[in-house]
Symmetry: C2
Subunit: 145 residues, 2 copies
Amino acid sequence: MNINRQKHFTVGRLAKATGTKAVTIRYYDRLGLLPSAGRTESGYRLYTTTERDRLLFIRRSRALGFSLDDIRELLDLADQKASSCAAVDAKVEEQLVRVRTRLRDLQALETELEHLSDCCEGGVIDECRIIESLSLRESSEPSSL
Amino acid sequence: MNINRQKHFTVGRLAKATGTKAVTIRYYDRLGLLPSAGRTESGYRLYTTTERDRLLFIRRSRALGFSLDDIRELLDLADQKASSCAAVDAKVEEQLVRVRTRLRDLQALETELEHLSDCCEGGVIDECRIIESLSLRESSEPSSL
DNA sequence: ATAAAGGTTATAGCGACTATAAGGTCAAGC
DNA sequence: GCTTGACCTTATAGTCGCTATAACCTTTAT
């Protein structure tokens, strides 16, 4: 079996080549996101550089915060070489909006936590202003968490 | 059954009083985070203002991003009226670190997505720089996502 | 008396993995 | 040839913080 004869990877090799765990690769396979090119006679998955590139695309998109569903769409779009890339750009914009919303939420959290931390004067729980503050009501839901 | 005679709540009433869903309250009960004060003869949970305040504490802490495990610890600490509040302060600091790490990660994401978006020139997928960029390797893992 | 609105439990699903178990395959050293 | 260990296979369950569903029981209002 010429597995080593360049450009062929078993899961483990593909894992090393891309910095992804083998279990994750199998998981993507199960989801239909990254089917293996073929199998050896004994049933081992076999990948080529095509799948390696597809996997890198997936991982890079994940690192940008896209969901696997988003990525599925992005991969479909990427395959339609002739159509407009407006749809791709739109998905990037959507993701940017989500990230910015999340950023604003987290900044608000940071501020609140700073205030909380500031009001601790090293005393005893019974007089702890942090515990006191945590017991207050109000606080509207963040738009995402 | 004097459920209405002030300061007694069924799940639904407690839910309304705190802006929490009844299912979530039962979930907290199951986890032992928020046991009901008692039950009616027919088995309905009964809560008092003590549990209402405990629930508000939980919800406020959740809004600040603490995990339920963290909150369990915070609640335990809050009950030890006589001990130092250093441990409480430490947990707030920890959370602050987590939030700031997350913030930096998200800011990096925002920048990357902006670059991606900028490089789209409205052409066709085959020449799309976004797709091209997504296919690149590199990109170190964020410290949290 | 009945129907709607509440309550109860147990169980499964979400997303993106991760962990475990129980087994089959392959290359290397003896 | 035989064993060891590293690799592969599958199926199943666990993570977190809920949310949804089903099947049933109780209280409240008309």
